[in-house]
Amino acid sequence: MNTDSPIIEIQNLSRRYGKLDAVNGLSLTVRAGKCYGFFGRNGAGKTTTIKCLLNLLRPDSGSVRVFGLDPRTDEVAVKSRLAYVPDMVAFYPWMTVRDTLEYLASFRKHWNGDIEADLLKRFQLDPKQKASHLSKGQRTQLALIGAICPEPELLVLDEPTSGLDPIVRREFIETVIGAYQSGDPGRRTVFVSTHLISEFEGLIDEFTIIEQGRELLTMEADAARDRFRKIRARFAEMPKLNLAGALSVKTSGRELEILANGNSEQLLAELKTHSPEELRCEALSLEEIFVASDILKKAKA
């Protein structure tokens, strides 16, 4: 396989539920070996998009390619090379943890038993426990073991850590980094949709923010943190400032908070000419960028 060919390629994807446009002309590309974040508010179209990748839904228009294949016509070929952890995990209640893993393994050509043993130990899951007796956190852990042991080329995670306690969330992410990413780096791609952006911050190479079924912003994480800055300034007396290029300006008495979109140097220079008592500039985290995306949308319009 050509290593430059994208793992996921979505072009102009649209999917409607009745009159509602869940996804409306979305395009994005995920390259091999990357961890790609897919951020959006509830109802923005994240899960619909993911379901189109897995052929759980059919697109109304546009194209979806996974490993260069069409999930509608090459469903088995696509699914045999990826693993999916949804936000709501369900197992057959009568099966034990051991039965469930054997059942999942029976669908796979390859199953890494060492990883399975390691993770069962790490998560302290009892193989004899019935799936129906597992907590939500344990069910997610079991699903993660089931997703990682086949060592798939693509790991699709849809809100994997929502509703879990902080320790389980932390372990989940460490497992994705450790057990999953430690294999051949060119064949370990992660596509993760999440609200809990700060927890995945260090993992994410590139991301797309989706809003009402459309792409709002696609950037590399390092570049985004370089471009979006928060500047705070305090003056002895509030001067008249020309901050036309700022994404947003908040004032409180003699203090200012400004969001800069790639023009922090210019804004800092303007502030500095008025001799601020205090001047600070810091990067926005990915979560703050996501929260600011409302402002961004207005700026774009």
Binding site: G33, C35, R170, I173, E174, I177, G178, Q181, S182, P185, E199, E201, G202, L203, I204, D205, D222, R225, D226, R229, L268, K272, S275, P276, L279, C281, E282, A283, S285, L286
Partner: protein, 135 residues
């Protein structure tokens, strides 16, 4: 050597790792021949992408700060700097410029800035001395 990532700094994550390891190497936090943490446990601990740590180590190896011994891991190289004097000056100039710009924005004047640089140099030398006394 304990490493820490600050997403608020706006500096690419791999460069933060490079800088901190170089600092640890220069200040005695990491000694010649001492192993660096392996990529996987370090990535897990910092909860950053494994590729980010690998990229930082590749950069450090490029700069001649560390060497990889196959099957054993990464180690800090002999401290004789591989850089020529002008190359060292060039690297340092970039970092000093950043501090100068920050000082300018914070309205720290020339004398105060130079005084601070002297103080930091003294503090650094004290630390290095303490380390070597303890050995």
């Amino acid at each position: 050597m304990l490493l820490q990532i600050d997403f608020k700094s706006g500096k690419p994550v791999y460069l933060q790792l490079v800088d901190q390891i170089r600092y640890a190497a220069a200040s005695g936090g990491l000694r010649t021949g001492e192993p660096l943490p392996s990529i996987r446990p370090l990535a897990e601990e910092l909860r950053v992408n494994r590729n980010t740590v690998a990229k930082a180590y590749a950069e450090l190896e490029n700069q001649g700060v560390i060497e990889t011994i196959p099957g054993k891991g990464c180690f800090l190289k002999e401290s004789n700097s591989p850089f020529t004097k002008s190359a060292r000056a060039k690297i340092l100039t970039k970092e000093i410029d950043e501090a100068v710009v920050a000082a300018h924005h914070l309205q720290v004047d020339r004398d105060a800035f130079l005084a601070l640089v002297k103080e930091r140099l003294d503090s650094f030398e004290r630390k290095v001395k303490e380390k070597s006394d303890n050995d």
